[in-house]
């Protein structure tokens, strides 16, 4: 059934029929609302969209969805605040949970903190840490199996079919980490080399193959271990304090009364806060929550959490003695949301002294320490004499030191990371996602968080894991194409073992057979189609999305001959951001050239060069590609799709030269979902550019 009406983004429920192949042609937003009525060009536009829709529907291949026997168990790595919350959430929802904790006891950092911000109304006090109670509940729960003093030896498989080997903690950890680090270093070196020397394409491919992690590796598990099969993994491995050696210039290590905020928690937990140097009670404390002037990023891993911790510890000091003084020096005081209430409580305490500032020095003259600052709120250099100096430390995700999950994936044992060591995903829209489907990060391993946020985050990750196992059990994709039943199938007889698909898949879907052919793991797949675009042999296809389907859609277009002066432009758009933007342009009645034909792609990264050749040889005058923003703050749902598209278009000049066409006939743009205003401008400007050239000489061939 082809339905010609409103955008496929609306009335999805009304136009979905069980067992019926349905294709929707967007005549409303893309034609009626953005073109003048009763015009020949408007009519031609609508007809072209219908032709493409009908072609697409007729090319649909009826293939079965992927079905395997899968496990709905959930593995939680890390038994701290986040891990306990995730385990409890999943178990309460009825899912079996394996909880792995490296320490001998559950609870993590929160057991070491006397008080935490639990986030209960009226949000202006800190409470005793309830973590031990939570840990007892988790251990007593019959759906949770707890492994203490254990770590993950390796995880293989894919969502619904993960096999995790849990091994008691021991010296083996060092060896595994070392091996992984070695692999990563080699991988980085290879990438750097590949980036530096493009001409050595074939040899770098060989090297990439050599870099496949654990390809064809067989291993005897001849040690004490337990293998569990789970459907999804929650990584809540947490954080460690940043190395305090970097604070030497602030007297750390030199004066015993200069300590980190983690040590301060320990002091407070011991009952009374005493000076480490002489055991005398502490009556004044300077909290340094600000960078010294020379350092560029000394508190890179700070975020709002150290601010809150500082306020909390000022509370410890003030509670211990009504005449005590707590000086808080900061670069920024970040207390978002309800934390503001606690900040206000502390600010209103007459014994709490706040000032922005940069530390100049910490020195000790007489019995006390003198902290000197500049750029203070007092408008001058300021010094205070204190008994104790507490330095905020950054929170480093433990994944910076070790892979923790130890994946047996061809793309390596690690979760892909951003430059700061946090796992990299689409940070705007998908906070829990990693680039390894079915593995969700939560808590401080994902970003610095406080106790309250960790608990919320753990529960959120549990929901993600549950969605994953349920959708996988139904043979459907997970976020962001949740519910998609199609998956890539490979016609391996024609595979040339070029490994582009295994390299380019942002989600590590393909493992590798010893002969170099890709080994798909369909439940890892997010159905973006980037592999389809990468394959030079065009052997990868989905049942409703393939090189052939899109190519046929292009060929179905009616291209008027050159004497009619009706140019034709094809615009490939990402259906996640650019497509809704085009819809919005229609909703807002923006008019643009009727000569453009939008073809939505699952991701711009699925663009296959053959489509460009098809279009140009059909007589299409110009081709636009509109994808998501990329770079450090990328907005691509599939991480690097639009970047790959740009990269591939960089290599199109060869095709154009063969066809004797101007390179300006192809343009690539980045567009955010809210930039619909730009669409008419982009389209009309492109048509203006094309107006400078003759019509495509291939018209009518």
């Amino acid at each position: 059934v082809v339905i010609a009406g409103p955008s496929r983004r609306v009335f999805e429920d009304k136009f979905t029929f069980d067992g019926v192949i349905t294709e929707r042609v967007n005549l409303r937003e893309h034609v009626v609302w953005c073109q003048p009525p009763n015009e020949e060009d408007t009519q031609m536009l609508a007809e072209d969209y219908l032709r493409m829709g009908i072609t697409k529907a007729s090319k649909y291949q009826d293939r079965a969805k992927f079905e395997e026997e899968i496990s709905k168990g959930i593995l939680v790595i890390g038994g701290g605040t986040t891990g306990l919350s995730a385990a409890m959430g999943a178990a309460k929802a009825g899912y079996g949970v394996y909880l792995v904790e490296k320490e001998a006891e559950l609870g993590g950092w929160a057991t070491k903190f006397p008080k935490v911000f639990t986030g209960e109304p009226p949000y202006d006090v800190i409470q005793e840490s309830p973590i031990r109670e939570t840990a007892r509940e988790v251990e007593a729960h019959d759906k949770i199996k707890v492994f203490k003093a254990s770590r993950i030896y390796k995880i293989s498989g894919s969502p619904g079919m993960f096999d995790a080997v849990i091994r008691p903690d021991g010296p083996w950890v060092e060896a595994v980490n070392k091996k992984q680090d070695g692999w990563r270093a080699a991988q980085l070196a290879r990438e750097a080399k590949a980036a530096g020397k493009e001409q050595a394409a074939s040899s770098s491919e060989e090297e990439a193959a050599a870099g496949g992690w654990g390809v064809g590796e067989q291993e005897e598990l001849d040690f004490d271990h337990e293998m569990v099969r789970v459907g999804a993994v929650i990584l809540a491995a947490g954080w460690r304090p940043d190395n305090p050696a970097q604070f030497e210039h602030l007297g750390y290590g030199k004066y015993p009364d200069v300590i980190t905020n983690v040590q301060m928690e320990e002091l407070a937990a011991s009952g009374t806060i005493k000076r480490p140097s002489n055991g005398a009670p502490v009556s004044s404390v300077a909290f340094i929550d600000c960078a010294d002037e020379s350092a560029e990023h000394p508190f890179l891993f700070s975020s709002y959490v150290p601010n809150l911790v500082t306020l909390k510890q000022a509370g410890y000091v003030r509670e211990s003695n009504p005449d005590s003084r707590a000086y808080l020096f900061y670069d920024d005081m970040r207390t978002p949301g309800q934390y503001e209430k606690y900040y206000q409580t502390m600010q209103n305490d007459p014994g709490v002294f706040l000032s922005k500032g940069k530390v100049v020095s910490v020195s000790n003259d007489s019995d006390q320490l003198t902290v000197e600052l500049k750029n203070t709120l007092l408008g001058e250099r300021l010094g205070v004499k204190v008994d104790l100096v507490v330095l905020s430390t950054g929170m480093i995700p433990v994944t910076k030191d070790s892979a923790v999950v130890n994946l047996k994936y061809r793309q390596g044992p690690f979760l892909p990371e951003n430059p700061y060591g946090f796992n990299d995903s689409h940070f705007i829209c998908f906070p829990y996602e990693t680039q390894r489907t079915g593995i969700y990060t939560a808590g401080c391993v994902r970003q610095p968080m406080d106790f309250m946020q960790c608990r919320i985050d753990g529960a959120g990750a549990a929901l993600k894991a549950i969605q994953c196992v349920e959708l996988t059990a139904q043979g459907k994709a997970v976020h962001p194409r949740a519910g998609d039943e199609s998956y890539p199938e490979l016609f391996l007889q024609r595979c040339t073992q070029c490994k582009r698909c295994t390299d380019e898949c942002p989600f590590g879907m393909y493992d590798e057979k010893p002969d170099g052919t890709p080994l798909p793991n369909p439940t890892r797949c997010r159905r973006c189609g980037i592999c389809m675009g990468s394959c030079p042999e065009r052997i990868i296809s989905f049942r409703d999305y393939s090189v052939d389907i899109v190519g046929s859609m292009i060929k179905s277009l009616h291209v008027p001959d050159e004497y009619e002066e009706k140019p034709r432009v094809i615009c490939f758009i990402c259906e996640n951001d650019a497509y809704p933007a085009v819809d919005m342009a229609g909703i807002n009645g923006r008019q643009y050239s009727p000569f453009i034909r939008f073809i939505p792609l699952r991701c711009l990264g699925t663009i296959n060069l053959v489509w460009i050749a098809d279009a140009l040889s059909k007589g299409i005058d110009g081709i636009m590609l509109i994808g998501c923003k990329y770079g450090d703050d990328y907005q691509c749902h599939f991480v690097k799709g639009s970047e790959l598209a740009e990269y591939r278009m960089g290599k199109i000049s060869e095709t154009l030269q063969r066809l004797v066409l101007e390179p300006e006939r192809i343009e690539v743009h980045q567009l955010a979902i809210d930039e619909y205003e730009n669409i008419p401008k982009l389209v009309d400007a492109f048509l203006e550019t094309l107006g400078e050239f003759d019509p495509n000489p291939y018209k009518g061939f």
């Binding site: 005449d323 003084r325 206000q344 600010q347 209103n348 305490d349 007459p350 014994g351 709490v352 002294f353 706040l354 000032s355 100049v360 020095s361 003198t370 000197e372 709120l377 007092l378 408008g379 001058e380 250099r381 300021l382 010094g383 205070v384 004499k385």
Partner: protein, 405 residues
């Protein structure tokens, strides 16, 4: 760094400020809206922002020797515009209270006046003195001679002696207190200005030139009603002082009866007295009503404010009532109110150097000091001020002057 200021916060001082009415001072986050909002704050080192952080940090030395707290005329614009609800106006007011309390001599009277729990004692002293006077004059016989003759009700000589002594005490005390304060200003504010300092007398004259017409007060355009009310009270009080002085001069030196005896209402001295009294009472009423009805605009009122208002309103209202009762022919009523009026007058004299009344002196001193060092120069900011177009430049902004109470 040798030049770093070593802060040693005085926790108790901050608590005292909070108790003196600056309840929200810790809420300030130094956005400086207050200093921008203030129309009379100098461009260089403007208040009240710096006073806010000093108050939060309990930097007592600076606050108690800061002339700027007196340059503020409490229009309350800063408090209404404060995004954090820290009420900078209230903070400066509390600093002024502690300023008086800490600079006054003898200092125990400062504590007596400033401490709410000692109200009964503070008011009890003048009440008991006047009651004793009344008792020994007439044994609380309010029928007295008719027509009304005050010396016939309470013996004149003791009043002369006691009130003269009280006034003398007030004058000496405020003189000592203000000298203290001037010395503190000199000692704690190293003057760093290009031009040489002006002498005391020219500075004082300059200060008077703006205090008498309330020119700076008028610049606080956020609160024009208060300017008018304060002007009425100020000049009403001066008028009443002049009237009293003339009458006392006539009585005590020339031994003549008050001139009203001879010309009822229309003698000049009577006109001066009545016009002054009406202005005084009307101004007070306006301030009182505004404090009670629109505290947001008029500012939050502390005990220190109420104590002063109580005495000055008591004086004004009983004075006017006294005249009205006398004309109405109520002899005993007149005598009773006369007695109460005497109590208020005595407390006014006694507590002049210690109550908020002392702002008369402190503000004058601060403004004079400011004039002498060139501190209080500001460019007046007009509401809805539009910078002149480059083609037709307006004359340079006139120099605003500072006024005081």
């Amino acid at each position: 760094m040798a030049n770093a200021f070593i802060a040693e916060p005085d926790l108790q001082f901050t608590k005292d400020l909070i108790r003196a009415g600056a309840t929200d001072l810790k809420k300030c986050y130094q956005c400086a809206t207050c200093s921008v909002a203030c129309r009379i704050s100098p461009d260089n080192n403007p208040y009240p922002r710096k006073e806010m952080i000093w108050a939060q940090w309990g930097i007592k030395d600076r606050l108690l020797n800061d002339p700027d707290v007196w340059l503020c005329h409490q229009c309350n614009d800063c408090s209404t515009q404060c995004p954090r609800g820290a009420y900078p106006g209230d903070v400066l007011k509390a600093v002024r209270k502690l300023n008086i309390e800490q600079s006054c001599w003898p200092s125990f009277l400062g504590k007596l006046v400033g401490e709410p729990s000692l109200f009964v004692l503070a008011m009890g002293i003048p009440v008991v003195i006047v009651l004793l006077l009344t008792y020994f004059s007439n044994g609380f016989n309010f029928s007295g001679p008719t027509p009304v003759s005050y010396p016939g009700f309470i013996a004149y000589l003791p009043i002369q002696i006691i009130y003269s002594l009280a006034l003398l005490f007030a004058v000496v005390s405020i003189r000592v207190s203000l000298k203290n304060y001037w010395n503190k200003l000199e000692a704690h504010n190293p003057v760093d200005v290009q031009s040489p300092r002006k002498g005391f007398i020219p500075s004082f004259i300059e200060a008077l030139q703006e205090i008498l017409p309330h020119t700076t007060f008028k610049d606080c355009e956020a609160n024009n009603i208060r300017y008018a009310a304060h002007l009425m009270v100020f000049w009403g009080m001066i008028g009443l002082l002049v009237t009293t002085a003339i009458v006392a001069f006539n009585l005590d030196i020339l031994h003549k009866l008050p001139p009203s005896r001879y010309g009822f209402l229309w003698v000049p001295i009577k006109i001066l007295g009545n016009v002054s009294a009406v202005a005084f009472v009307l101004g007070l009423l306006i301030m009182l009503v505004r404090r009670l009805t629109v505290p947001d605009e008029a500012g939050n009122s502390s005990y220190f404010d109420w104590f002063f208002l109580f005495i000055i309103c008591g004086t004004g209202f009983t004075g006017l009532l006294l005249e009205l009762l006398r004309f109405a022919g109520s002899t005993s009523g007149t005598y009773f109110v006369y007695m109460v009026h005497l109590m208020f007058i005595l407390s006014l004299f006694l507590y002049l150097p210690f109550s908020k009344f002392a702002h008369l002196g402190y503000r004058t001193v601060a403004i004079t000091w400011g004039k002498s060092v060139g501190r209080n120069m500001t460019i007046p900011v007009k509401p809805n001020y539009v910078p002149p177009a480059p083609t037709e430049p307006e004359p340079a902004g006139e120099e605003a002057t500072e006024g005081a109470a």
